[in-house]
Amino acid sequence: MEEFIVTEKLTKTYGDVTAIDALDLKVHAGEIYGFLGPNGAGKTTTIRVLTTLTKPTSGRALVNGFDVVKEPDEVKKMIGVVQQHVSLDRDLSVRENLEFRARLHHLGSAERKKRIDELLDYVGLTEEADRIVDDLSGGMKKRAMIIGSLLHRPKVLFLDEPTVGLDAQTRRRLWDSIRRLHLDGTTIFLTTHYIEEAEALCQRVGIIHRGRLIDLGKPLELRQRLGLVTVETLVDNKETRYQYFADREAATSYVQNLPSDAKTIIIRDSNLEDVFVELTGRKVGDD
């Protein structure tokens, strides 16, 4: 399978702090790759290096074969980036923001107009096009940012925590937009600390912890390695213990053999959060 993003021993340090530590990544062309980890794990720093905003301390990173440090101009032509924060000019309208980005990416006048109208329609923002960004809801701003990153038809889209701070309905609409982009052939590199987001969207998930990739696989594979079924037991009325089993039969058999004083037993499907906690001893989302 063709590798679209490759990093080799990619490292970034800030003084004594190592943000990313000898990171080796391989993202396939056309996939949605999820980068899962808690706040401060190094997700945003990785995106900043891959999108030419931050220079790595050592190692190298290639996007479609182009080195982000040596050939940043080539990289810039093929990437679209949606940052975690609102990166629009808040004093201008949605259309003005889009036109500005289209100009920066050298779209001609006729193509600019056509592409902007097309994309506004794509995410249902046509009626909001002339509203000032500051007056829009969080979900609308995020949608405007996404289409702002798509104007020049990037081959790869970087989404840094795309649904943080959005309500559940808006989040699901955004997920649908991301799935449509994937179906159109765009490679998507998405960071998240929402487990359900990684499970819902990503073909492969890399788990990052303290700047290092600690596991990688399809969501189902990662769960299979741990056990597809989780049993939660309350021990001494204060501590929840988690046990993992390959299937329901094994889990049920375990529960039947528990001592009679074991309490609050839950049998459920395991999820990526279980994988993460077992790998790191830390809950996703913790600082």
Binding site: T51, L53, V68, P72, V81, D89, D91, L104, H106
Partner: protein, 249 residues
């Protein structure tokens, strides 16, 4: 070459849209200071005084135009850049697009030049009416445009360099404010001791106001000062490129 010009215009375009939306507020706020100086110093303090053979009003007017060029160009280029970079954090969009740092530096400078020229032309229009001794020659306009470039470059440099709002206000208090009052804008440097005068020639506004005054009043033109002004321009532009390079990979 065409790509460079197109990219410069793209960078300028977005700031022009902002200016178009807020033109009245921008113009009004940039004229408050010069009008206050004009009333307080030109009429209040200087009424009836003559200076170097001219009325004080005729003497001070080019100085006020120089400092308007400085504050409008510096602020016009620097403040929004600073806010976009540190508070709105939308400046990364430029760095992630395929435009050169040169285009970015010049584009961001030009909005300061545009704003500087709007303010100075407005105050100049008032000046020509109240002080008919002013000569608005092509040389005067050349110095005015050069001054706007010099201080816009400084605005971009400081807007890119400042790591916090405090950095920006510190620079304003320690450099811009003293320069406003000490650069021969309101008085002749010939009244000062040699050592002080020498220090004040290290400030670009001193050269800008000396050149503007000489051109406006038909005095012997200080070409050396004009060269020094252009030298400051080159220095600040190099600083802009350094600061932008530091901000990108």
């Amino acid at each position: 070459m065409i790509t460079v010009l197109r990219d410069i215009y793209s960078v300028l375009w977005v700031d022009l849209r902002f200016l178009r939306r807020h033109w009245l507020r921008t113009l009004a706020t940039s004229l408050v200071n010069p009008v206050l100086y004009l009333v307080a110093f030109g009429y209040g303090l200087g009424g009836g005084i003559s200076f170097d053979g001219y009325s004080y009003l005729a003497f001070v007017m080019p100085g006020i135009i120089a400092l308007t060029a400085m504050s409008s160009s510096y602020g016009g280029a620097g403040y929004k850049l600073h806010v976009d970079r540190l508070f709105y954090r939308c400046f990364d969009e430029y760095l992630m697009s395929p435009i050169s740092l040169f285009s970015l530096a010049v584009g961001k400078t030009l909005i300061g030049v545009v704003r500087g020229l709007i303010s100075t032309v407005a105050i100049l229009a008032v000046g020509v009416i109240i002080s008919p001794a002013l000569i608005v020659s092509p040389l005067f306009m050349l110095i005015l445009v050069s001054s706007c470039f010099v201080f816009s470059f400084l605005g971009v440099l400081v807007g890119m360099w400042a790591k916090s709002h405090q950095d920006m206000t510190t620079f304003n208090t320690l450099v811009i404010l003293p320069m406003t009052f000490l650069s021969g804008t309101f008085f002749s440097l010939n009244q000062l001791p040699g050592a002080v005068k020498a220090v004040l020639y290290l400030l670009p506004l001193t050269h800008s106001s000396e050149c503007l005054r000489a051109a406006a009043l038909g005095q012997t033109f200080p070409w050396l000062s004009f060269a020094a002004l252009l030298g400051f321009g080159l220095l600040f532009f190099a600083g802009c490129m350094w600061a932008l390079k530091r901000a990108s990979v």
